[in-house]
């Protein structure tokens, strides 16, 4: 049994900026954050943090023997929040910050004082997970009391789904400096950041095979990948890693992807599924970044919905060839991050497109596909992912819609973004985070 904790970059900023404020007499600040529990594979759990609750100055008790002591009023408020969070199985986490960089953990006072809050939270929010989160200036750690449990589970990771991405782990990870010496411009600890990130790829065909190859070269170590198809003759014009002999052998595309990864990263952790992600969805939730290399708009919509639910960055790629004199190659790379603009906001997914596809009974058919546009789109997508993980460009924009013109050989920002005037995504809300909540009527 392991537990992971995840939050958006915006929530992390809100927490750290509040907790860093000086208090009139307390040496540090504390707060509460709501978290919803979801399931991962192998009975593991994912806690998705949703809302931060600052504790007002007057709800602290003046006790100089500890960094901060909060009063009964604040604790009562937290218990009420746990009570009202029952329908969504939303628990309460005590959070505070240690003002230094590097790994952090519970101090002696933390270990003595904070667990005392948990029985109260559990008594009112029985089916929720509750716990403790401690942040440092660049790290984080958490302890989770699962429903009915008297002892906490130390979180294996605390992830911040922002830009740059933060994946804080309990253990360290050694990465070869020499191997990545030519990409050191990505940042001082970029190799470790890349190695800690879990990436998902749905679809390992023309686009997905390129993405897998580049992710492995860059140094990604943790993969969750899906494809139920085997190599066919018509795939050989673009499926990176496939050989002629894979056609009569009916080699699964999953196997091609595994071999590509292991050939470059022999110690990688690859969880592969010979089928649709929808039939084995829980492993996908372990990812911080998901690449969608699927044919249909419906498939893209479903991937985006699940990425919003479980707070994951979603990067979509797709290409199309249409017209005849001459044929026109087009394509797109889209980044859709939690809380930020979605594919509907950016004008890519529309009801009209979904309706037209449904009228065709969902089938995309055998559409024209060719290797180099897939390569351009996959390279662009991997570039976005590396920027998310390392933050090397310094650009904070949490969304992207890049349009490929295969006839001109250009990749440009979509003109629809220039005319967007949407301050926040109206299509997904906080209630869409976590497992679906069924309300009896």
């Amino acid at each position: 049994m392991s537990v992971a904790i995840r939050m958006t970059g915006g929530l992390h900023r809100e927490m750290t900026s509040d907790l860093a404020r000086p208090h009139p007499f307390a040496a540090e600040r504390a707060g509460f954050v709501s978290g919803r529990m979801s399931s991962l594979s192998h009975e593991s759990r994912l806690v998705l943090l949703t809302r931060y609750h600052s504790i007002p100055d007057d709800q602290y008790v003046d006790d100089r023997t500890v960094g901060a002591r909060i009063g009964a009023e604040a604790i009562t408020w937290a218990m009420q929040a746990a009570y009202y969070g029952r329908p969504a199985r939303e628990g309460i986490f005590h959070v505070h910050m240690h003002p230094f960089t590097g790994r952090t953990g519970m101090s002696g006072v933390d270990r003595r004082e904070l667990p005392r809050l948990m029985p109260g939270f559990q008594s009112v929010g029985r089916d929720a997970a509750h716990g403790i989160i401690i942040l440092s200036l660049d790290h984080g750690a958490g302890w989770v009391w699962l429903p009915g449990s008297k002892e906490p589970v130390a979180a294996s990771t605390v992830s911040v789904i922002g830009k740059p991405l933060g994946v804080f782990e309990r253990g360290g990870r050694q990465v070869s400096r020499e191997r990545f010496s030519r990409q050191s411009f990505l940042g001082r600890d970029s190799e470790e950041r890349i190695a800690r990130c879990t990436v998902g790829v749905a679809g390992l065909g023309g686009g997905g095979s390129h993405i897998i190859q580049q992710l492995a070269h860059i140094g990604f170590q943790r993969y969750v990948i899906y494809d139920g198809d085997v190599v066919e003759e018509s795939n050989l014009n673009r499926l990176v890693g496939a050989r002629s002999m894979d056609v009569p052998a009916e080699t699964p595309k999953l196997h091609i992807a595994r071999m590509m990864i292991y050939g470059l990263q022999p110690n990688a952790n690859v969880r592969g599924f010979a089928g649709r992600w929808q039939d084995n969805p829980e492993p996908l939730r372990e990812c911080q970044i998901v690449f969608g290399c699927v044919d249909s708009y419906q498939g893209r919509h479903e991937l985006e919905v699940t990425c919003r639910r479980y707070l994951m960055h979603y990067i979509d790629i797709g290409m199309d060839v249409h017209g005849e004199a001459p044929p026109v190659i087009g394509g797109q790379v889209i980044l859709s991050s939690p809380v930020s603009l979605c594919m509907r906001c950016m004008g890519f997914l529309t009801e009209a497109k979904l309706a037209e596809e449904a009228a065709r009974y969902g089938g995309a058919g055998a559409r024209p596909q060719v290797v180099w546009p897939n390569g351009v789109l996959a390279s662009t997508a991997v570039g976005l992912a590396v920027d998310i993980v390392t933050g090397w460009t310094g650009q904070a924009l949490p969304y992207a819609y890049l349009v490929y013109d295969g006839n001109k050989g250009t990749v440009k920002e979509s003109v629809t973004l220039r005319h967007l005037n949407i301050p926040a995504c109206p299509h997904f809300s906080e209630s869409d985070v976590g497992d679906p909540v069924l309300v009896e009527l």
């Binding site: 639910r309 679906p436 009896e440």
Partner: protein, 116 residues
Amino acid sequence: MEYPKEQIEDLKGYCSKVRAAKEGEITYLYLEDLRLPAGCTPEVCDGLLCPVARDGYPSRLFLSVQVSPPYPRNWNVSNARIGEKNWYVFSWRVNLVSPTLVQMLVAHLTGFTKEK
């Protein structure tokens, strides 16, 4: 999105439990143990009624299994993923003007019993 209480009560005549499930901008109605028309196999499955326009249809009834009805149907979305579950739906357009929820449900279920 809220639905009239009396219409929800009427829906309960066709299933064991009605629950609301919101995803994105749509509030679906989860119909537990929905009874299907005679001749369908299975006779009971869970349903998910989308009372608003989606995929170019004015409303849709998703089912937890691909039902074998008396007449062949176009199952144009096999494995739609809604509310973290996989659903099935066949192409059936309900063109009633301002139907109640029960009228909408019955019109979708009628799709199983018509030859064309």
